[in-house]
């Protein structure tokens, strides 16, 4: 069939999910939270990677949900799963032992090294915003093979020169604390925002602009980023989702529009 592209907005969940799904080519095991990552993994299974396996921090491995999961602890993920492990086993034996290839993370702030803030905006003692905190992200970042971050905003507040707080550190920050404590994982490899796809090729390197979404320029992205962001040698335009990808998301994956608004 000839591929026809959809015109959904680059800021739409459909667009972000489709771009995220394409990052999963060749990956075996993904550690994902609820929401967009779930859509991306489900879409990847139906398109680029039928064998990709999802592991949830609730302990569920090899889920075969009969319905769309609302949350990582949804009973539909348990019924018919291949395994439900205790959290000591999931975090210790599966994640920390290195069985997870890709971790999907969100964040309120990300810096040039791919360190994440999910804890506080403003002062730690009396924050202007108390964010949800570390959750499992502080474990996923060092122990997953690589992490993909999806941001709903792209502005200097979300991509600042300095984080208000570092919840889940890049290997760069681990290296600064102690070169011998650099974790096994690469840290953030890819950041998907409403404007661009950033990549971090070097484990101890910086993020760089790799793809720019249709209708935007490298300068637009630069202007919206809180630091002098690097630019890859060969910046491409981000491939739009196909009509089929959008159809799958809307008509087969999230039929009740739980995450697609």
């Amino acid at each position: 069939m000839s591929t026809t592209f959809s015109d959904v907005a680059p800021s739409s969940t459909e667009f972000l999910a489709a771009v995220a799904a394409r990052q999963l080519v060749g990956k075996r095991r993904v550690f994902a939270g609820v929401g967009l990552p779930t859509l991306a993994v489900d879409l990847a299974r139906r398109t680029v990677n039928p064998d990709v396996e999802l592991v949830y921090e609730s302990g569920i491995c090899g889920a075969q949900p009969e319905g769309l999961a609302e949350g990582i602890a949804d009973s539909v993920l348990v019924s018919g799963a291949a395994a439900v492990l205790s959290m000591p086993a999931l975090f210790g034996y599966v994640l920390q032992r290195g069985h997870v290839d890709v971790g999907f993370l969100g964040a309120a702030q990300i810096d040039r090294w791919g360190s994440l803030n999910t804890s506080f905006i403003g002062d730690w003692d009396r924050p202007t915003v108390r964010l949800p905190g570390a959750g499992g992200a502080a474990e996923i970042m060092p122990n997953a093979g690589e992490c993909i971050v999806v941001l709903r905003r792209h502005d200097p507040g979300a991509l600042p020169a300095e984080l208000d707080f570092c919840t889940s550190p890049s290997p760069v920050r681990a290296h600064q604390e102690d070169p011998r404590m650099v974790p096994p994982g690469h840290g953030v490899s890819t950041v998907i925002t409403p404007m661009t796809v950033l990549r971090r090729p070097e484990k101890l390197g910086e993020l760089e602009i790799s793809e720019v979404h249709p209708g935007l320029t490298v300068d637009d992205v630069r202007a919206a980023t809180g630091w002098e962001i690097a630019v890859a040698d060969d910046v491409r335009e981000t491939a739009r989702p196909t009509v089929e990808e959008v159809r799958l998301l809307r008509e087969e994956i999230d039929t009740v529009r739980l995450y697609l608004r």
Partner: protein, 312 residues
Amino acid sequence: MAAPDKVTDLTSAVATHVRDGMTVALEGFGHLIPFAAGHEIIRQGRRDLTFCRMTPDLLADQMIAAGCVSKLVASFFASGSAGSLREVRRRVESADPAPLEVEEYSHYGMVCRYQAGAAGLPFFPLRSYAGSDLPKLNPLIRKVSDPYGGPDIYVVPPLRPDVTILHAQRADRSGNVQMWGIVGAQQEAAYAAETVIVTVEEIVEEDVVRSDPNRTVLPAHAVTAVIECPGGAHPSYTQGHYDRDNAFYREWTPISRDREAVLDWLEEWVHRVPDRAAYLDKLGAERWAGLGVAPRPSQPVDFGRRVAQEAS
């Protein structure tokens, strides 16, 4: 051999074992959240609790709003579809109506604290936190050097609640507790505690439990009191019994935004309700029926029975 009967009612269990100023853990990772027990604590007006829960969600918002909690020990301060916990945020962001002390870890950090507490260890190592600001925020997250020449590694101290409260599918009268579906870190949270209270959907005969000893997450020796409390996890769920009340979680978001609305809700759904049975009546048969699940039984496994062998 007659094991002691540990079955009691929730009112007595909380009155007997949960006292002001105690460190109390209510665990259940999105599943088997002991809401009925939490509401009983609110009803009995406990104060100054150090409340331990990896994922403080609606239950934390409610117990904090009710004034039971002076300190929170946790690793994720939000509630999936219900969004952020406004009561927690009001207190942390603007000490409104009072400040709330928070001791913060990551999920695995909390799991490791329970593991250390359960195993009687002085600390538990984990490969997180290198380069993170969390150890600066929480000085209880420390480092030890590796006696085998590797790099330093972070450790967390044991968490030893005075009381851990859990919900499960079933138990026998002597307190052997069985649960299935997501079991989280409940075994560790229970063994870490001095006193363990477990509410269950049903008290079953001893042979039901003994037909499948591998299903027992907490043997009787680790359990202080058992309470039959059907629906005790609502609005969260109990695998195989009833589903999560997702609508309820969504309804909480607007309530949580307004402290008065939270207090009104507590008055209506906790203080004016004597127990969980009354709460379910108030919830209504129709709504409850809407949370029902169709049967999906596990296929039995065989434990076998000895056929006399020659002791040659």
